[in-house]
Subunit: 359 residues, 2 copies
Amino acid sequence: MSVDDLPGFWAVVPAGGAGTRLWPLSRSGSPKFLHDLTGSGRTLLEQTHDRLAPIAGDRFLVVTGEAHRDAVRSQLVDLPEDAVLAEPSARDSMAAIGLAAAVLEARGAEVMGSFAADHVIREPEAFHRAVAAAVDAARDGWLVTIGIDPTFPSSAFGYIHQGEQLPGHPLVRRVVEFVEKPSVPVAEEYLATGRYRWNAGMFVVRPTVLLDLLAEQDADFAAALRRIAADPGLLPELWPDLPRIAIDHAIAEPAAAAGRVATVPGSFGWDDVGDFDSLATLLGQEESLVVLGGAEHVHHDGASGLVVPGSGRTVAVIGLDDVVVVDTPDALLVTTRARAQDVKRIVAALKDAGRADLT
Amino acid sequence: MSVDDLPGFWAVVPAGGAGTRLWPLSRSGSPKFLHDLTGSGRTLLEQTHDRLAPIAGDRFLVVTGEAHRDAVRSQLVDLPEDAVLAEPSARDSMAAIGLAAAVLEARGAEVMGSFAADHVIREPEAFHRAVAAAVDAARDGWLVTIGIDPTFPSSAFGYIHQGEQLPGHPLVRRVVEFVEKPSVPVAEEYLATGRYRWNAGMFVVRPTVLLDLLAEQDADFAAALRRIAADPGLLPELWPDLPRIAIDHAIAEPAAAAGRVATVPGSFGWDDVGDFDSLATLLGQEESLVVLGGAEHVHHDGASGLVVPGSGRTVAVIGLDDVVVVDTPDALLVTTRARAQDVKRIVAALKDAGRADLT
């Protein structure tokens, strides 16, 4: 697929979120998307750009925090100056993606697709085909989400309940509703029906449709975004008062209830690299010890799991199964794959202990 | 007990051995005895000196490697210049203790007691009473060892098989034989008899008796030691050719076979701090997480075992039982208490990999 196949299509990449479950690798000052978590030599942000470039070319917009603008620019050196929008402060996904929509509306973009900066996709061509189908439906005025084929009954993701096929769009289905993260037994029921898919937060839509959907829920919010797009000098004044709300709650759920959301089922080896357990799965095989970067620093004897030797020091691991060892210059994590979700509790405890410098 | 209670008694402390099972805390360049392993604020060597000072005063002699002389002197700053003997190279315990014996014989010492620099004793007064009884028997010409009350059927120590009480010395018994490290079932049989004690390598003897016992086995060895004592300038020339042999094999075992060894049963909270499992036992309780030094650096959640935060970095441990985490500026160890003995295999592997700098 080439950049000419999707004329007027712009890729939007909201690059935010600290990824606290990947501490101490990911920090608020150096979040997940800036790191090479797959050992590919490319960071997740770079991989995201690499993946979108074949279908978007230089029609590419990153929305990130002011604090990360320089890091983003240093990783994506070929982007033009106006390809990076910097948020003065974090205002959740509606403000970030809404700002991109307003800027693209002003630039005359026909369709935008928003994709997180810190996800992994192993089959980019299958992803491109899903995006193309979504763009096609979005041109008809739908808010289109890409629904990930669920490979196991995860309780870590929200689900998309899909309905009938959209007339004229053989690859697209109506969305009945979005459902919040379920329990594992409920997720098992979802999978048994064959009608539920993971919500990876991928939205494809006309910028104007997105802003109009927002205006129906919160006219002031949409108006403020359009004012900023028309006069970027208003950003510092208007931004702090924007609501902190996720795009799912702000527009996707109300629009689904109104029958205005569609979904493209996608199966392209997606992973959100949410914690060290999923990272270990992504990188290796059960019962082996996976090393992310600098394998020459690691010595082991009868151990399995994941080791990240991120400080250059020698790491020796003896006799632990499914262990997670993450070594950085100022902080060390030792846990198990089973407890990977609890890493965020240590991050919270560090903040409580006055060590926000480490988070 | 005071320094006047044991006139003519000298304490000898052989300070050698890298303690590879305590890697990466203990290194060949910075061995176990130079470290504070109990969180007391005093190193094991300093504690050994503290423990012996009440009965030996300044009648104190350390034998250590040339490479450690400065470190030893910096820890024991009040010692006179001639209280530290430096070995040009490691020649095992017979040469080290034999050199001390020859030097003390030349100085007119009546009795010497040799005690390792890296053991822990929780009840020093009980230890002093055992030494006093040993000194008393040593004045009568016996080679006297202190036999540690075995608290469990360890396979990590050699045992002393004790016999009848020594006439005139109510606290002292004859030694039937020394036995090598047994299997656990054999150790259980030993304990059931009540006649076996751990051999902690503590020998109390007249210097001349020790050298004469050595001369009976190896006249050249004893003669060389006496020549060095008479003329320290001969040390560089004679030392490299001295046999590498442990004092147990060189004189204790033959002397026991000849009925010339006695033992004082001792029970004073002894520990050789052989590995991180025994260190964890020494420092804490089961099912708790023990931190050696810098507890403010450690955050944990549902973990037990031992953490040594030795680099000043923050260490977070989540959900591991009986874990051992030892963090140093250039090397990190993660293992379990059950695998503590296998740490020496990693040290060997590092040497094989050309990383002797880390060992």
